[in-house]
């Protein structure tokens, strides 16, 4: 059986090369960049965004996108913290993830079955869910001081020298990359995003496939919310603002197409690293935080423009 290797495609490696160049330049400009503390900081910061971006990649490959993940992160964190204080770690974690999954399923059903535009639907749930978070928390952080010690340890302790928070996306990435590549379900997501009608006429249950991508996005945002609560040692109603935009930008930077049908999970993670390293680098170089926003906005536009240029060829 001849092994069929994909031909080397330099365009496909642009995200990785961008990341390496960014690291190189920062390392040359400041020696603090390569310090173990800073590197481990970058990993921890990336870990939560990475989990969200993996879910976002499912949705974007399936031809949609999801603005509600930032609010979902806050909801999951607060629900997890509230449940944990009363019923313990396991119930708290499960409740947080379930809340995320619920939001995702609702998005999925509204978009796939009712045919409402993904932008409008998830814009709506983004605002709605944030409102719910403020309602259930009264606008104040949840669980301060009362969270179980084990949960707080999860947010800061390490396993084999690496933070637990970093192991989470690593394992998720490994499993879901396999799902995308090797299972019929994964191939169907690509086909549905690439040409929904052709996939439908090939017998693919496109509605269910699309709904499932939003379910992944919601559930993974739920996991990210629980991780963030562990790191912040509380459920914060204001958490996760603008996470949706960072996640979408990261996925596009990683080479996925907003037209759908294209993208890979591991490259989206590279996109996350580009976003986080860029922020870190601007911090280390003492760039004004207002200017940081300007820079990150410009990167998002550049990524979207690159997406258009790619699809025009």
């Amino acid at each position: 059986m001849p092994l069929s290797l994909p031909r080397f495609n330099p365009v496909g490696q642009i995200p990785l090369l961008t990341l390496l160049a960014l690291c190189l330049v920062t390392a040359l400009l400041t020696d603090r960049f390569l310090s173990p503390l800073n590197l481990s900081n970058i990993l921890v910061q990336s870990s939560i965004m990475a989990v969200i971006a993996i879910g976002m990649t499912f949705v974007i490959i399936g031809g949609g996108f999801d603005l509600s993940v930032g609010s979902t992160v806050a909801l999951a964190g607060c629900v997890a913290a509230m449940a944990m204080v009363k019923f313990g770690i396991a119930v708290g974690v499960a409740a947080g993830i379930a809340a995320g999954l619920g939001i995702g399923l609702a998005n999925g059903v509204i978009i796939a079955k009712l045919g409402v535009n993904p932008f409008i639907t998830t814009l709506g749930t983004m605002v709605l869910v944030r409102g719910v978070v403020y309602l259930i928390t009264g606008g104040a952080p949840v669980g301060d001081d009362n969270l179980p010690a084990g949960f707080i340890a999860f947010g800061s302790a390490r396993f084999l020298g690496i933070h637990y928070l970093v192991w989470v996306p690593a394992v998720i990435l490994l499993v879901l990359s396999w799902v995308m590549r090797a299972t019929p379900y994964g191939r169907r997501i690509y086909a549905t995003g690439g040409n929904r009608e052709a996939a439908y006429l090939s017998g693919v249950p496109v509605d269910r496939i699309i709904a499932s991508t939003y379910a992944w996005s919601g559930a993974l945002a739920g996991i990210a919310g629980v991780m963030l609560a562990a790191r912040l040692q509380s459920g914060q109603p204001t958490a996760g603002e603008f996470y949706e935009l960072t996640a979408i930008a990261a996925v596009i930077l990683g080479g996925a197409s907003l037209q759908g049908g294209e993208g890979t999970l591991y490259k989206s993670i590279i996109g996350v690293f580009i976003m986080i390293v860029l922020g870190n680098s601007l911090n280390l170089l003492n760039v004004d935080s207002y200017w940081q926003r300007v820079a990150i906005g410009a990167v998002i536009i550049a990524a979207a423009a690159a997406d258009r240029l790619r699809s025009r060829r």
């Binding site: 299972t183 191939r187 009608e197 006429l201 017998g203 693919v204």
Partner: protein, 489 residues
């Protein structure tokens, strides 16, 4: 001797490693219809794009009335009176007929020095242009409310309004019905008599023989034959295009087997199909022929009941049809393929669940079968990882068939399976359909080309307004006139 209205001399054009045009000469006279034929990839589109100013030739010269010209873009060509009418007409769907016709040069009136659109004159001018084509629609209708044939007339009228001298038509009849084709031909004849030069690109060789004052055959970027009216027949053209003589699909001689599919509801267009049988659906657009195929595949918007190999089944959605061994090849290629995926992924799409072992796709087995399938259907190039968008139309169509052969369906529903592909690929597809039926499959095929149906079908159902108006069998000999009468053509 008069100068040609438009001529191209010694044209070379290279795209990457492919030589698209190789020292090509081509010209068209005023008042002449010059047909251009050739297989996919022969260079027709490249030539059309060069004449229309989209591409610039690497070498060679264009001339109008003998005067050398250079086009730096489509605008230059249009300014010189050369208008191309592509298959996908460039009209704005949301605007009215009158607005589309006058889009580039809107009639204005001035009120206190402010230019305003002169709606009355706009309508008047549009009406005049369309009257020249014997077409008098409601000018305020939006373009997206018109049929394709009507939109095409609007596009031609728009070209006339720009005082075009050379009209280039790319596959103008691909989406037209018999009656609409006749109207188009009448329009073309009138334009010729007004001294317009017409370049006519088509896959339909019988049209070319009937219409062409001259015909040029392209092969591998070269002109292999140019001949005047009466000097060419369909068989000559095929030979010149392919470089080999025409092989007819072998006549049908199999005996139909058991009933493979039978609709149980009592309806005027109920279908019964046997194993080994190829049944043709003949009918004009809107006759319901296409609707029959869509209904049987579960996309007709209703749930139907049928017997499949004797067992009662319900079909509401495509997955139901696929599960029951029914495959569908839609009339438009973009509905059959996911263009940004590989040939392998497209071929596998309907049968992914069949190759899942413990949740994972059995990659080794799949690669072997895909390779066999590409061999069997002669899909070129033989690269399963190639994006399907990079394939020629004929090869794309074969990939769509391969999808269902991979799934090993027992019934194939084919909607215009050979539309817009070249003769050689068309014959290969006919052979595949015949093979499929010989090995026990049942085929239901719709085609607007009656000659295609009489070539490969065992029986033909004529449809009109959603009812079967006649049933013809090969054993009785297919009578063209009877068939035409039954479909109302």
């Amino acid at each position: 001797m008069t100068m040609p209205a438009l001529s191209a001399r010694g044209i070379f054009k290279q795209f990457g490693a492919t030589r698209a045009l190789d020292n090509l000469d081509f010209d068209v006279q005023a008042g002449e219809l010059h047909a251009l034929v050739g297989e996919n990839g022969a260079g027709k589109s490249t030539l059309v794009r060069i004449l229309g100013g989209v591409h610039r030739p690497d070498r060679g010269e264009l001339a109008i009335d003998g005067e050398p010209r250079r086009f730096n873009g489509p605008r230059d060509a249009i300014a010189a009176g050369i208008v191309t009418i592509p298959q996908e007409l460039h009209l704005v769907p949301m605007l009215s007929i009158a607005e589309n016709l006058t889009l580039e040069d809107v009639p204005l009136r001035h009120m206190l020095g402010v230019p305003l659109i002169d709606r009355a004159r706009m309508r008047e001018e549009a009406r005049e242009q369309l009257a020249q084509l014997d077409f008098a629609p409601d000018l305020d209708l939006r373009i997206d409310r018109l049929s394709f044939a009507e939109r095409q007339l609007v596009a031609i009228a728009k070209a006339l309004r720009r005082r075009c001298r050379v009209l280039i038509l790319d596959e103008p009849t691909a989406a037209l019905e018999t009656r609409e084709i006749e109207r188009l031909f009448a329009v073309l004849a009138r334009m010729k008599s007004q001294g317009k030069a017409i370049i006519y690109v088509s896959h339909r060789l019988d049209e070319v023989v009937a219409l062409g004052d001259r015909c040029t055959v392209l092969r591998d970027g070269r002109s292999v034959a140019t001949s005047g009216r009466g000097a060419f027949k369909v068989t000559d053209l095929v030979e010149a295009m392919t470089g080999r003589s025409m092989v007819q699909a072998d006549a049908r001689a199999t005996v139909p087997g058991a009933v493979a599919l039978e609709e149980t509801a009592d309806r005027p267009d109920a279908i019964r199909l046997r194993a080994n049988e190829i049944v043709g659906l003949a009918g004009l657009l809107g006759s319901g022929a296409s609707a029959v195929l869509r209904r049987l595949f579960g996309i007709g918007g209703e749930t139907i009941e049928l017997r499949r190999n004797g067992a009662a089944r319900r079909i509401a959605r495509p997955p139901d049809a696929v599960r029951n061994g029914i495959g569908f090849v839609p009339g438009e290629r973009r509905l059959g393929l996911v263009m940004n995926l590989s040939v392998r992924d497209n071929i596998l799409l309907p049968s992914l669940d069949m190759f899942a072992r413990g949740g994972t796709i059995d990659r080794a087995k799949v690669d072997r079968l895909v390779k066999q399938m590409m061999e069997l259907l002669d899909i070129r190039p033989r690269q399963p990882d190639q994006r399907v968008s990079a394939l020629s139309g004929g090869n794309q169509q074969k990939v769509i068939l391969a999808k269902w052969l991979m799934r090993e369906v027992g019934v194939l529903l084919l909607d215009e399976p050979t539309q817009g592909i070249d003769i050689a690929a068309k014959q290969q597809i006919h052979t595949l359909i015949l093979d499929f039926a010989r090995r026990g499959g049942g085929v239901l095929i719709r085609s607007s080309e009656l000659a295609e149906l009489t070539l490969i079908c065992d029986g033909i159902l004529a449809l009109r307004q959603g009812r079967i108006t006649d049933r013809l069998a090969r054993s009785d000999g297919f009578d063209d006139e009877r068939l035409q009468a039954a479909i109302g053509g």
